[in-house]
Every structure is written in C-alpha cells, then in structure tokens.
Amino acid sequence: MGKSTIIPFGPQHPVLPEPIHLDLELKDEKVVKAIPSIGYVHRGLEKLVEKRGFQEYVYVAERVCGICSFGHGWGYSKAVEGLMEIEIPKRAEYLRTIWHEISRLHSHLLWAGLGADALGFESLFMQCWRIRETILDIIEQTTGGRVIFSVCKVGGVRRDISDNDLKEIVKRIEKLKKEIDGIAAIFLNDETIHSRLKGVGVVSYDDIVALGAVGPTARASGVPQDYRLGDEGGAYKDLGFTPVLATEGDCFARAKVRLLELYQSIDIIKGCVENMPAGDIAVPVKGFPPAAEYFTRVEQPRGEAVYYVKGNKTKNLERFRLRTPTNANIAVLVKMLQGCDLADVPNIILTIDPCISCCER
C-alpha cells in the first residue's frame, strides 16, 4: 500500500455539469476518504424571500434550478397555499402533475445524456438529448418557456391546456416511448455499460436507510421512498402510484430506475389527461400570509424536496427554506466514494444525479 495522496476533483471537471469540489484521499488507486465542499453557486435565494412579495417569489423559487424548476415553483406555491389555507381547483392539481412529470422526463433524459457522454457513448448522448427536445417543445407549447415554466402561482396555475392540446401531447409522448425503448436497450444491455456500472458504488438497503438517501438513489437499493406515495397534492392519490424499485443498489440499478421512471411518467401524464377534471385553474388569493409556518414536500426527479415557509402578516415571508434531494444525497455520496477506484468516481457521482444549484440555492 502506497502513501496517501489528495486528488482535488472539481469544481471544474468534464463529468460535472455544475461545480462541486471533492478532496479525494487516495491510497494507490483506492479512495479512502472524500471531503466535499460546495458554495460555488450559492446565491442566497432563500434570503431573497425577505425582499420579494410572496406571490412574486414563485419566479425566484423556479430559478433555484433550471432542471427541476417547475417542481420548485410547485413546492413553494403548495407551501404558501398550506400556510394561507387555500384550496386550489382539482384541474390545477392535475395540470401541475402533468407539468411536473414532463419535467421529470426532461430531467431523466438530460441525466441519461450526461451519463452516456461520461461513459464515452457520444452518439447515445446525442440521441437522449434529441428525444429530450420533444419534451422541451411540449413545455414551450404549453407554457411559453423551455426551461423556466412560470405557470405555477399561489392559488393554482396561470395557463390552461386545451383538451385538443392534451390529446396531442399524449400522441407525442406515446411516440416517444418507442424512442426511449431504443436508448433504454443500449443502457440496459450494452456490455461496456454493464462493466462500468454493475457492482460499482453499491449501497445496501440498510445503508440507504442509515444514510437518509432519497429519490432514485434510494429506490435503486429497494427502499420504496417516494413522496408521490404520500402526496396530498397533485393527482397521484387519485391515479394510484407504485414506485419503480431495483434491489442491486449499484450505479447500474440507479440508471435502470431512472430509465424505467421515464415510462412511468408517460403513464402518469396519460392518466391525468384521461381523468382531467373540468373547471377553474386558479382561485383568487387575498391578503397576506399569516404569522404561522408550514412544511410541505414534492417528489422531484432527484428525490424528495422539502419546502418550509414562515409568514408574518406582511407581503414578505420571513423565511423560506428548501432542502433539496441532492442535499440529502451528499451523505450517501461520501459513503459510496469510500473504497471505490479513482476511475469509478465520475460514474458514482453521476448516478446520484447531483444538482448543485439546487443543493446550494
């Protein structure tokens, strides 16, 4: 065994779309310890809630992250609605669910592309992002934006989707299924991908529970932790929901769960369209948030996100807090990296699908 060496990994690294720094303590090629440090994209967005009206802040919440932006807008709106005891129309809940699942498709396809690129599959990367373009087109068609939706508001949603457009969306995502089959077949059957991902970064069911991991990272180790199971908002309770699980707990299982969740999201969108209630899409919001506090949660593409708001009878909230899924998955990442080969570090980091902008806010 050689002497230990510290290798700095990030904040700028080819596999990292966003900056996180890790000091990797190595003995020969094995990582003994990983010390994370973040803050490179810390913008103090939680603090900004003190200077923006509670209705305006939805736009800031959406800008916490460009990948799960809709979910953040939804989570914040849901928290304020809970604080002010506002009940939103059923149609708004269904529309939010559709946009949220479209967001999940966009996020997982983006991840699949980045994963393929990191594994050296450049053509696969291009195919994943080509399919994602259709999703972005749907987002643009229904919201006017491609990254930031700006359709969620306290009290409901800003835009409706006509029945014809809903049918059109279903047709387009149905076609996507066949294209997803193509990329999933490569991810799930290619020998090179198997050898790079199988048995790498393994976390057992017990370790996931002990480390408090969330999202596909937890579900890939067999932990059925998905807030869509307990969500009182959205359409999940009406439609019924069973999380996608795997049991291997390695990088391959995490990739598999995300790919299978693509099909699940398509089915949820179809379910929402088939059962879409008629009626209003928003209720008027009067007055200011009371001097009270409220917690709520949303299952983001990367896992459970927790939203907290505290009002003080003024137009500004006193506190907004967002605990993002990547924030909860840093602990499991630190554990996974201990004992792995240096060459596997990029794959392990990528398969928790880190979103550093979310993590730092």
Binding site: H21, K33, I35, P36, S37, I38, G39, Y40, H42, G44, K47, V49, E50, K51, R52, G53, E56, G82, V209, A210, L211, G212, Q225, Y227, L229, G230, E232, E293, Y294, F295, T296, R297, E304, V306, Y308, K310, N312, T314, K315, N316, L317, E318, R319, R321, R323, N327, A328, I330, A331, V332, V334, E360
Partner: protein
C-alpha cells in the same frame, strides 16, 4: 399536510433524536432561522410520510449538540448551519466536521444577521453596468487627457420605479 411542532430544550435534543431513531423515523432536515432570541432550529423526522418537527431555541452566544451520533448524515445540515449562520455545533462526527470549509463563500456567515423581513421591501442594489438595474447610480467617469469628455449618464430610476 399535518404540521407537528414540538418545543424542546437544547439539553433534551439528543435524547429525543435517539428516541426517533429507535422508533424508525428518518431525519428529513434541519432548519435554522435567526430570531431575536438567537437561533431557532427545527429538526424534522419522517415516518410513513408524516413529519414531526422538534423546535429548539439556542441563544446567540450558545451552541447546540450535534445529532450525528444518532443520524450521521445530519452533518450536511450541521456544517451548512455553521457556515451560513455561524452557530457552533458541538461534537459533529470528527470525520465529517469540516470546520467551516463546507461552504466556499466570499462573505463568512452571510445569514448571521437578523432578518429584516418586516421592513418594507427595498429595491435591490444591482451591481451592473452603469445605467442598468433598478437603482443603479452612475458616476461620470473623470475625463482622461486626450479623450472626449464622457456623456452625461442616464438618470437612475427613482425608488419604486422599474423594480418590484
């Protein structure tokens, strides 16, 4: 979503966290808020999608015991609270106590100051090019020898104009 807040003394925190762990709860997050009394900490625990929150008030010059002995992964939030708010968290598991180096920030403890949320929303100071931003002020640059005098700058927006 049912909201459960349980007021707790700092001395009882570790015992209660141990009880939650024994009862099979997952720790969800730790929230810190600056309040006039010091720091308001909220420890959230989840079981079957129902969340219970322990509420602890720590004086400004006080410290709080780490819960990493019960929930190791709480080190992420404890380091974050230390770096952003300046609250001392005692006995974080030594291998994950980053000693103020978890968040790489230009300004240390940026959220240590008490919130002024009850004040009317002020225009945000935007440090952009002269003439841009809701309250950007423009100072005419001193004329350099051999160059033409600078054009008068556009007037800054009045408070309440152009911004939210």
């Amino acid at each position: 979503m049912k909201q459960i807040f349980i007021q707790t003394e700092p001395a009882d925190l570790l015992g209660k966290a141990a009880q939650y762990k024994k009862d099979g709860y997952r720790m969800v997050q730790i929230l810190c808020t600056r309040v006039p009394e010091g720091y308001e900490l909220t420890y959230s625990f989840d079981k079957d999608y129902v969340m219970e929150n322990l509420r602890v008030i720590v004086p400004l010059d006080g410290s709080v015991m780490s819960v990493t002995s019960q929930y190791w992964y709480a080190f992420v939030w404890e380091n974050e609270i230390h770096d952003l708010f300046g609250l001392k968290v005692e006995f974080i598991a030594p291998e994950v106590d980053y000693g103020g180096k978890f968040f790489q920030l230009v300004k240390p403890m940026p959220w240590h100051e008490l919130s002024n949320a009850k004040q009317p929303a002020a225009a945000v100071k935007v440090n952009l090019r002269p003439g841009m931003g809701v309250d950007a002020t423009v100072k005419p640059a001193a004329a350099q020898p051999g160059t033409a005098a600078p054009k008068p700058a556009a007037p800054a927006a009045k408070p309440g104009e152009g911004g939210k």
